[in-house]
Structure formats: C-alpha cells, structure tokens
C-alpha cells in the first residue's frame, strides 16, 4: 500500500484505439471503394472502346469496300433508306460478312438507313434491329458512334455507328454490329478481380500498419500518462507517495473509516538532525539517508499502511485499524529499525526520528486536523525525551499557532513585554538562598501573563530562542546587579537550549555579557537539559567547554528523565546536577526513587558536582533530602517563581517535629 502503482485507465485507452481504428478505416474503405469503382468503370469503358474500334475496322475493311465500286458509288443525294443496295452491292456484302458471321466473330450485322429501314442484315431479316427511337440509333444517325454492353445469355457488345462509306466522310446510314463480348468481359472481369484483390490486400496492409501505429501510439500515450500520473503522485527520490497522493489516499481512507466506523492512526515523522547530514556530508548523503529510511520504514509496515514523504525529512503514515498501543508499538519498531547503524560516506550514523501519533476517530476525522495533532505530538516528542508521542490534548500548545506566537514574540522582545521571575535554590541544610533560577514570563497585552510552555516551544522551534536567551541573559545579569546592590550575593541560573549551544559565537556572547555587566563568571550558571546533550554532541560539548572555561557554572537540568548517556557527563565540566522532579516527588513513599536519587547524589558527588533537587514540595521530602546528603533544593515548598525583590533571602528549614506534627 505504501507504494501503489497507478493503474492505467484501460477503458479510455481502448476507446481511443477504437476511435483511431474506426477513423482510419473510413478513408481506407472509401479509398478502396473509389479506386475499385473507377477501375471497373475504366474496364467497362475499355470494353466499349474495344468494341468501337473493332466495329470501325469491320466498317472500313469489310463493308465500305463491299458497298463501293466503280459502278455503284455509295454516295449520292439520297440516303440508303431510299435507295437500297444494288444487287451487286448486296451480294458483295453477303460475301464479305459470311465467314465472320459463321465463325461468330460478328454475331449480327445490319446496315440501316437513317429512317431505320434495314437495308442489309446478315440473316436476311428486315424487321429486327434497334428501334429508331433508341438514343444510340439517333446518335449514330447524327454521326456519333455508340457502344453498349448487352447482357443476355452471353455478353454482347452492340455498336451503333454512322456508315461512312467513303473517304469523303459522308454518312449514308447506320451500321448496327453485335460483337461477342463474353471473352473480353471475362478477361476484364479477371483483371478487375485481380486488381480488387491487389487493392484490397494493399489497403488491408495499409490499414494494418495504421492500426499498428495507432496501437503503438496509444500504448505509448498510456504509458506516458501512467508515468506522468505516477510522477505526479510520487516522490522521485524514494518512490514513496508524495504529499498530494497522501492527502488523496488518506482522505479516502478516512472517509471510508468515518462511514464504516473504522479506526486507526495518522503518524507524522520527522528525522532528527537530518539537516546536519545534508550540511556536513552533502546532499547525496542526505538523499541516500532518505532512501535508507524509506526502505526501513517499508520493511516494518504492512500492506495496508500508507507511507508518504511529505517533503524534506518529513514523513507521514496512515495506519488503519491500529489503536494507540499498537501504533506506538509499531512506531517503536520503526524507530528501532531506523536506529540501526547506517554508514553514509564511511560515517556511521544512527538515525533518530520523532513520531507524533494522532488517532482517529478520537482525535478527529479530518486529515488536516489529525495531521495538526500528530504534529503537536511530534513536537512534544522533539522537545521531550520520548520519541514516540501520542497526541494528548491541547496542553502542549498549538503548533499551528506558533507562527502567530513567533510573530508576537518578536514584537514582545522589541517592546519589552517579557519579564523574568526567579525561583530560589537554597542550601538544604541551612536554608540560605544560594542562587536564583531565571524563568521567563510574557506579559501579553491581551492575553495577560503567558506561561512559558505556551511560547517557549515556538521560540525553540523557530530559532527565536537565540535572541530570547540573549535577552534573558542580559536581563538576568542586570537583575543580579540589582540584588547585588541590595546586598545579596546570589548566583543566577539561566536555562540554555541546545540551539543556543549549537549557535556559533555563543560562548563569546556569554563572555561579552559578563564583561558588560562586570559580573564574576562564577555567579552565572547555565542550565542545560539532558536533551540538549543528545543533539550535536560535538558542537554542544565544545560550546559547554568554552563557556565553562570562562568560569561559568554548568548545570545539567532534569537529570534522569532523558537519555543522557553517562559518558556525556564524563567529558563535561559539570558543576551542578539537578535531579528531575519526577524522582524527587516520590522519595517519601517510593523506595526505588529514593535509591535512584541517592545514587545520583553519589554520582554527582563522585564527579565533583553539587546536587540540586527540583520540585521539592513537601517538608518530608525536604528532610529526606537533608538525610540523603543533597546539596541544594528548589521547589514550591521553598519559593515560587517571583520577581527578585520578592524572593526571601532565607528559608526556614523544616524540622522533624514540624513534619510529624504536620503529619499528625
């Protein structure tokens, strides 16, 4: 299903061919009919001409000499009707025609006057012959020879011609000659038939050639059309259906599902760091990567699943009949398959991708809607630590609103609508505030205070995070000057995105800002999420190294929630590890969480870092942290994010008794 051959439109093609065939048949048949008609007419004309010529010869060689003699010239004022023949002329005529009539060379011969009177006939009869009113007789009487084929028992040609008895050209009567035509007719017929066959065969061959040409052309057209259709619907690089085809086919599926009550999943997949492959190894490597990816996809997917490449490194799938768990399972299989090492241009790569899953009919029945939700889920995956994410409501923000958000955020940066709140980090044992974590807030003119979750993903996604972080750094350092002036020596923590670290010149920027503010580097801590470390490791590590070299503290945020390899920690000058709130909140009840937190504390201490627990919300947890040897704590128990002047400089460390009292 992922690659559907466009079926050729057979019916219209055969109709086209039939039209071609019929259209070429018409002129061929017409031509054949015309040529045959002309030829048989010419043959008949030839027969008549032959008859005329023969009669002419008979007249001049037989009859004229018989009629003409010194004594009885055949001319005079009266025509033969009046005059008749002399006995001598009559005898000579009989003599001259006898043999020919006997042999059948001449079937009948009559000499007639212009009045029609029979002056001489081979059989002596005077009543037979053509009626005077016959057009042929009249024509002959007026000097025009006529020949006509008469079909009786056999075919006979009848010639009527003027009797030109002498060289003067005077006509003295009409000669009526009947010549055998059967042999001539048979021969002509044979010729005509022969010609018919030849014309027929020639035209049939011509038609065959035309038909073959038509067939060949229609076939080429059909193939061309099929190719065009395929190209229009498929991606040339991978051979997968393209965006158009996906929309068409998926919509058809969804319509059918809506009608028949089917269910399934729409999945959007985006390859991580594809751009780097393109940039560093070249486009051919990127293309090769896409081909490898699509092959691996195919190896896992079923026949009914639609896989399409929407463009770039973005893929879409429609998985009919799958529920959430099955879709996730299938996508995890795909992810694992993709993650198998690939060697491109001698560089071993592990392909990672983010999968966003939207289910139908739960998340919508329209493709557009489902795709948006799958997109939201996918970006959750990109931001978070899980690759395969099923859409889970609108909480994560609307990626389709991101463009709006991004535009507004730009204005916000210009108009100074952003503000920084600070959440204190205290030393666990004494409760003294050691540092403030700067958390950006957006005082939107219409929407009020916008939580960071609503705009940070958009900023992250667009690259707007770079100026945003710069702004936060600048403002945080400025605020720090403020509290320093107020007598506090708190350090300030700023969250830094992977994109910041990847951006060239970031360490220089940090150095410049520090210099600008005149702040000691040690009083600045950059918090880096684990996921940032999963990115372009080399660049990020180099950037971290350079920043750390300035003396700036490096903190690993949300430790334990992501995929950070411990090997990353080994090479980094980490000054702080912040344990993810997921572990911290459970330490009161869950022995396993306790074990994990304890080991992380041990690990951090082993690496020479201090440990901060995030999300400390109860005194019980706080006390346990003290016991566990945690260095610092952060959370609502200690203080919510607030403008720095509102931060209490110390925190009253809860005692055991308080807790017991509280629990009672």
């Amino acid at each position: 299903m992922w690659k559907r051959r466009a079926r050729p439109p057979v019916r219209s093609t055969s109709r086209l061919f039939a039209t071609f065939a019929a259209a070429s048949l018409v002129p061929v048949v017409a031509l054949g009919a015309l040529v045959s008609q002309d030829y048989s007419r010419a043959a008949a004309e030839q027969g008549r001409a032959q008859g005329l010529a023969q009669a002419d010869v008979i007249t001049q060689m037989v009859i004229a000499p018989a009629l003409n003699s010194e004594d009885s010239p055949a001319f005079g004022s009266d025509d033969l009707s009046r005059r008749g023949l002399t006995q001598e002329q009559h005898d000579r005529m009989r003599e001259a025609t006898r043999l020919a009539v006997y042999n059948g060379s001449v079937q009948h011969l009559r000499l007639r006057g212009f009045s029609g009177r029979v002056i001489f006939s081979d059989d002596g009869s005077t009543s037979s012959g053509v009626p005077v009113s016959d057009p042929d007789f009249l024509a002959a009487a007026n000097g025009e020879a006529r020949a006509r084929v008469i079909t009786g028992r056999t075919q006979t040609i009848r010639v009527m011609q003027p009797m030109l008895a002498s060289a003067t050209g005077q006509s003295i009567g009409v000669i009526e000659v009947y010549l055998p035509y059967q042999k001539i007719a048979d021969r002509l017929q044979a010729q005509v038939e022969h010609t018919y066959w030849r014309i027929g065969a020639g035209l049939a061959a011509l038609y065959l050639v035309l038909a073959l040409l038509a067939w060949w052309i229609t076939r080429s057209l059909r193939r061309y059309a099929a190719d065009q259709r395929h190209n229009a619907l498929h991606d040339a690089l991978t051979g997968l259906p393209n965006r158009t085809a996906f929309r068409t086919w998926a919509e058809a599926r969804l319509d059918r599902a809506a009608r028949d009550g089917g269910h399934g999943a729409v999945v959007l997949v985006d390859l991580n760091r594809f751009k780097e492959v393109n940039d560093t190894l070249g486009h051919h490597a990127g293309d090769e990567l896409l081909r490898v990816v699509s092959q691996r996809f195919r190896s896992v997917l079923g026949r009914e699943d639609i896989l399409a490449r929407l463009g770039g490194d973005e893929f879409a799938l429609l998985l009919p009949g799958l529920d959430s768990a099955e879709a996730v399972a299938l996508m995890e299989r795909v992810r694992d398959r993709l993650a198998e090492e690939t060697v491109l241009d001698g560089v071993p790569l592990s392909i990672e991708a983010s999968f966003g899953i939207a289910l139908y009919p739960e998340h919508g029945s329209q493709l557009q809607e489902l795709k948006q939700r799958a997109d939201i889920a996918m970006y959750q995956g990109k931001r978070g630590t899980v690759d395969v994410v099923v859409y889970s409501g609108e909480g994560a923000g609307h990626p389709h609103q991101w463009l709006v958000v991004q535009a507004e955020l730009r204005h916000a940066l210009e108009r100074d609508e952003l503000i920084l709140h600070y959440q204190p980090k205290v030393g666990v044992t004494d409760g003294d505030v050691h540092a403030l974590e700067a958390l950006v807030r957006w005082q939107h003119p219409q929407r009020g205070l916008v939580p960071p979750g609503d705009f940070l993903p958009a900023a992250e996604h667009s690259g707007l995070i770079v100026p945003l972080t710069e702004w936060v750094l600048r403002r945080a350092l400025a605020d720090q000057l403020g509290w320093t002036a107020a007598g506090q020596s708190w350090a300030v923590s700023v969250n830094v995105s992977a994109r910041n670290l990847e951006a060239p010149g970031f360490p220089a920027l940090v150095a410049a800002l520090l210099a600008e503010a005149g702040t000691a580097p040690q009083r600045l801590v950059l918090e880096i999420t684990e996921t940032a470390l999963a990115g372009d490791v080399e660049t990020v590590e180099r950037a971290i190294g350079e920043v750390a070299a300035l003396g700036v503290g490096i903190s690993i945020d949300d430790f334990g929630a992501g995929y950070t390899s411990l090997s990353h920690l080994r090479g980094l000058p980490v000054t702080e590890i912040k344990i993810d709130r997921a572990f911290v909140k459970d330490v009161a009840d869950d022995p396993q969480s306790r074990a994990i937190v304890r080991s992380v504390i041990a690990l951090a201490h082993g690496l020479g870092s201090r440990v901060t627990a995030e999300g400390v919300e109860t005194a019980e947890v706080y006390r346990w942290l003290i016991e566990a040897g945690c260095d610092e704590a952060q959370g609502y128990l200690i203080g919510r994010p607030a403008p720095w002047p509102q931060v209490a400089p110390t925190f009253a460390v809860p005692t055991v008794i308080d807790t017991e009292r509280a629990s009672r």
Partner: protein, 298 residues
C-alpha cells in the same frame, strides 16, 4: 457526436461524388449564319427568278462534298459545310428562296444540270471554254492549281514537268484532269499515268497511300489539307506556285439565263454589301476573291 457523424457521412458522400460525377457535354453548336442574316431579300430579283423556281421555293445545287474548305462533310457525315454552302445560303437569302446543297458526282454534274435534275452546280467548278458549251457560269472565285505531294516531298517534285514519268491522281471530270492530259502529251515518251477517281477524297487517299506521286488540285483545298492539323502531317504543297489561274463558277443550264442573271446580280449584291468578303475571310480565301460578279468570265 451527431455533428461528427454527419461530417463523416458528408466526407464519404463527397468522395463518392467526386468519382461518380460525369463530365457535362457542351451543348450542340448552333448552325445559323448571323452575318448572312443581314442580307435582305431583293424582291426585284425574286420576281425575276424563273417561275418554276419561285413555285417550288428552293434551288438544288449539286456538289461533290469532298473539297475542303470549299465544300465537305461535317463530322456527322451528313451536313455539307464550307465556303460554297455558306455562299449558297447567302445567295438564297438575297433571292428569297432556300438553297439546298446536294451530294453528287462531279463528273456527271453538268449533265445532270442539263437534264434538269439540279438547278446548278456549285462545286468549285472551273469555268472553261469546253464546259461553256454545256452551261453558263456565274463566276465567284479566282484561283490557280497547285501540286500537292506527300509531306516531305519524297518525289522531289517542284514543277509540273517533274510529274512526267510518274503517276498523278485527279478527280474525274475536273479541270485538273484536263491539265494532266495536256501535260501527258508534253511529257512525250516519258509518259504520265493519270488516275482519275470519283471524289476529291479518293484523290487524297491515292496520294496518302502512295499510289500516285502527286495530285493536281485547286489552290484552296490543296492549301487546306497542307495546313489543316488533321492532314498536314501527310500532305504539303510542292511549291507556292499556282498554275493556270482560272475562275470558278456556278454552272447553270444554258437555257436558264434568268436564273443565271439572278444569281449574278445576287452575288453582286453580296460583293457590294461586304458579305462576300466576309465569307471569304472566314474560310481564309480572301486572296481568291473576284472584283465583281461575272458571267462566263465577262
């Protein structure tokens, strides 16, 4: 679809029509003489016609119609055309009677006229002293005799004397027959074979088939066959010279002076009115015109 089908049908019909159509024959030619129609009947002349002619209303003139362009058969083999039939019609219109050209034997024509079978002879007959014994002649043309030979002139004949020792053909009873007989005596021992045949057409057959070396003919028909596209491939004039320029005349019985004079006056009217010149021009005979109508050369 209907439109397309009808176009196909039309196309087929056009194809069949193109093959099936027959050539239209031109309409038959009319035979009137419009120029002659300008000739008006002369009642005085009509009144002077012999009673018998006025009574029957027509004149029968005998001719040997084998003497193009003077008189010959048209393609239908029945109509006699030429300068003389045209002249006869014009004369008839002046006289107010119909004229009829009748095919007959040249050699017996004068006798037939004498016997009253025909009213006259209009057949390129030369006005000779000998014939004047039998008839009076109303002269209408002046011409000489030419020697006609086969195209290429195989006998290298350029003058009459060259005919000696050979054979020549002529029509029975013609002036040219007399000329040949005279020539034969001049040839002396060398001799001259004369073949006299019934019609001028037969004379040409003799020459065409090579049975004679030359033919003596009046200049107009000789020139005609030597230049006409149907015959010029076979005949040519031995030279441009015309021998023994003579007058042609309509022979009328000697006792029929009334008719003779009427014909002469009618001819004079045609000469005066220009109709005569026009008819001559039409048959390319203008060189043979006579200045005035004459009887027996005077």
């Amino acid at each position: 679809m209907t439109l397309r089908r009808s176009i196909v049908v039309l196309g087929i019909a056009a194809l069949l029509g193109a093959g099936g159509c027959t050539r239209a024959e031109p309409a038959a030619e009319g035979g009137g003489l419009d120029e002659v129609a300008s000739v008006t009947k002369d009642d005085a002349l009509h009144a002077r016609l012999p009673e018998q002619v006025r009574a029957k209303g027509f004149l029968r003139l005998v001719t040997d119609a084998s003497y193009a362009p003077m008189e010959y058969f048209a393609a239908d083999g029945r109509t006699i055309i030429g300068f003389e039939p045209d002249l006869a019609v014009a004369l008839g219109q002046v006289l107010g009677v119909r004229t009829e050209m009748v095919m007959g034997s040249f050699s017996t024509a004068l006798d037939d006229v004498g016997a009253g079978v025909y009213d006259g002879v209009l057949s390129s007959m030369t006005d000779t002293e000998e014939r004047r014994a039998k008839a009076d002649f109303v002269n209408y043309l002046s011409t000489g005799t030419s020697i006609l030979v086969q195209r290429g002139n195989p006998g290298s004949i350029t003058e009459l004397a060259d005919l000696c020792g050979r054979s020549a053909a002529t029509e029975q009873g013609t002036f040219q027959e007399e000329m040949l007989i005279r020539l034969r005596t001049e040839c002396g021992d060398r001799g001259l074979t004369i073949r006299s045949v019934a019609t001028n057409a037969d004379v040409l057959v003799e020459l065409r088939t090579g049975r004679v070396a030359a033919v003596l003919q009046d200049y107009p028909p000789a020139s005609f066959v030597a230049t006409d596209e149907r015959t010029s491939a076979f005949f040519q004039l031995a030279s441009d010279h015309q021998y023994e320029r003579v007058l042609f005349g309509i022979a009328v019985a000697k006792d029929n002076t009334a008719l003779r004079d009427c014909l002469r006056d009618a001819l004079q009217r045609l000469i005066d009115s220009g109709v005569y010149a026009d008819l001559l021009a039409r048959w390319e005979l203008s060189a043979s015109r006579v200045p005035a109508a004459m009887v027996n050369g005077a």
